[in-house]
């Protein structure tokens, strides 16, 4: 079991979702995050004060897949989420030691 975490741009969500769907991915979890990186933020002004906001809104996707499917998903993600501009985001992959479906108690391969 691999857990693939991808930080992407908001407006790429629909594209990514349908690309993964074609890939056969049937589940994922999405979180609102704010990212800090090479992409410059922006400045905001409120009366006398100027703020440099370098935390940019992003989405984090968490997708758990079987070892074998991982690379395919990663490739799809890279393709669907890319705009070519700084700030497209990152993919982080890690190992899971166990996976359980709460509804049934099934584990690992059967759980996702």
């Amino acid at each position: 079991m691999k857990k693939i975490e991808a930080i992407i741009r908001h407006f790429k969500l629909e594209d990514v979702k349908s690309a993964l769907d074609e890939q056969g991915v049937r589940g994922m979890t999405v979180t609102e995050v704010r990212g800090f990186g090479r992409q410059k933020g922006h400045t905001e002004m409120y009366r006398g004060t100027e703020y440099t906001v370098d935390l940019v809104p992003k989405l984090k996707l968490e997708i758990v897949v079987a070892e074998s499917a991982a690379q395919g998903v990663i490739d799809t993600l890279v393709q669907a989420a890319r705009t070519g501009q700084v700030g497209d985001g990152k993919i982080f992959v890690s190992d899971l030691t166990q996976t359980v479906r709460i509804r049934t108690g099934e584990v690992d391969g059967d759980a996702i």
């Binding site: 407006f11 629909e14 922006h42 905001e44």
Partner: protein, 469 residues
């Protein structure tokens, strides 16, 4: 609004009575009330005095209140209604457009707008009579009058319409227009569409009820069916077509980001519309009460009609639907509010709710224009329907006089309504089209893709709406 000077019946005898009183009383006064005779005046003078329009403090109180209510319609009302419908990243952009228009249109109105709209009574456009508030402001401690209220108040009340009409259009190009271009566009639109049209319909011009220049154009428009709703609704459609759809429309979801605002804004519009319509009686007369009631009933039945359509066709009524129906009803009753019976308002509201539901769902889907917040679907369609239905339901019982008015009582007002509506469509389409083409070729209509993705709040104004972290 000049044609609204016809007041309900009780006023006439009251006026005559007052005049008589004045004359007779002075005889008595001259003879008896010695203590009061510091200002000896002849009966003739007194009679002249009686002809001078006298401020009626009750009428005035109501129109001042109405002016405040109509300003409230633009913000917080419309600003809240519209801003809830856009995506979070554009919420300030929409509110800013409303607030900025409140400021800008007011200054234009003071400088020359009121004069262009209400100066003189030529067929095409006002004159310089009221430029820079000349002949409007007080002089020597006294205020020039317009009927039973100061002209200042007339100017204020009408000025609130000059704000909300362009603000309505904002919904069509929401989430993508350059702020600077919007500013220039609205100055021009106000000058070349609103002011002439307002003059035509309400100040003796070619669409004025009973004008001599072009009698068949003489329209019944009690509170702004043509001047406000058709003009803005049709211009909105032109805007939507020329500026093109929002980036990602169809592929990305664009649901309203905060329907609570939309609903609360709609409620404020409902409340404010009493000022809009009942205030158009220009006094706290029986006619004002009648317009108030017609407005209220149409709003209510409009909300019910749209909800019923949704309930039948989609299984459940939505809050956005109910609110949209309320606004549709309000739009549609506007031209006829002081001309039809309140109970007719129920029919007008029902028709509006159903028609605008159809326009905002089927029609828009079929023709694929991106009228983002349905300005055409509600104000264009509802306004046009309202103008026509006024020709059907208007009645002498409300308008006064003995001539039949609406189709239902055998009158022919409906012909004029069709003519005036067509002319208003034409004016709005042509001028808006020309203005936008020029602006597109010069300063550009749209923000860049980058900016559109970032949202107008940050790209145009450097601010964020909600920082809940």
């Amino acid at each position: 609004m000049r044609e609204q000077k016809v007041r309900d019946g009780w006023r006439l005898p009251a006026r005559l009575l007052a005049a008589a009183l004045t004359a007779s009383a002075w005889f008595g006064a001259a003879a008896a009330a010695g203590a009061e005779s510091e200002t000896p005046q002849s009966a003739a003078l007194a009679a002249a005095e009686a002809d001078r329009p006298v401020l009626d403090s009750g009428d005035h109180a109501w129109i001042l209140t109405s002016s405040a209510l109509v300003l409230m319609m633009t913000a917080p009302g419309l600003a809240m209604f519209y801003s809830g419908l856009v995506r979070k990243k554009n919420v300030l952009g929409v509110i800013m457009q409303c607030i900025f228009l409140m400021a800008m249109m007011t200054v234009i109105w003071a400088l020359y707008g009121y004069s262009l709209a209400f100066g003189g009574s030529g067929p095409w456009i006002g004159n310089g009579e009221f430029l820079l508030m000349r002949n409007v402001q007080m002089s020597g401690g006294a205020a020039p009058m317009e009927g039973s209220i100061p002209r200042l108040t007339h100017m204020l009340f009408q000025g609130m319409f000059f704000i909300i009409t362009p603000a309505l259009i904002v919904g069509a190009f929401a989430e993508r227009m350059k702020f600077s271009t919007m500013v220039v566009f609205m100055i021009l639109w106000g000058t070349f569409v609103y002011c002439p049209l307002c003059h035509w319909v309400w100040d003796g011009g070619i669409l004025f009820d009973g004008n001599e220049y072009f009698p068949i154009g003489g329209a019944l428009d009690f509170a702004g069916g043509t001047v406000v709703h058709i003009s803005s609704g049709i211009s909105a459609l032109v805007c939507a077509l020329l500026i093109g759809p929002r980036l990602g429309l169809g592929s990305q979801p664009m649901p309203p980001h905060n329907l609570t605002y939309t609903a609360l804004g709609a409620a404020m519009l409902w409340v404010g519309w009493f000022g809009f319509n009942a205030g158009s009686a220009l006094g706290a007369s029986g006619l004002a009460a009648s317009a108030f009631a017609a407005t209220h009933f149409a709003a209510a039945s409009g909300g019910l009609a749209w909800s019923a359509c949704e309930w039948l066709l989609r299984g459940r009524p939505s809050l956005l639907g109910a609110c949209s129906g309320v606004v549709a009803g309000l739009v549609c009753i506007t031209p006829g509010s002081g001309l039809v019976q309140p109970i007719s308002g129920i029919f007008i509201g029902l028709a509006a709710g159903a028609a605008c539901f159809f326009a905002c769902t089927t029609l828009k889907a079929r023709f694929r224009y991106d009228d983002a917040l349905d300005v055409f679907g509600v104000h264009g369609v509802g306004g046009t329907l309202g103008a026509l239905l006024t020709g059907v339901f208007a009645t002498r019982h409300v308008k006064g006089g003995s001539a039949a008015v609406g189709l239902l009582e055998g009158g022919s007002a409906w012909i004029n309504q069709i003519v005036a509506t067509a002319i208003t469509w034409g004016l709005a389409i042509v001028v808006t089209f020309v203005l936008l083409r020029i602006l597109d070729a010069t300063i550009g209509l749209r923000v860049s893709q980058q900016e559109e993705i970032q949202g107008l709040d940050l790209s145009q104004h450097g601010e964020e709406g909600y920082i809940f972290i």
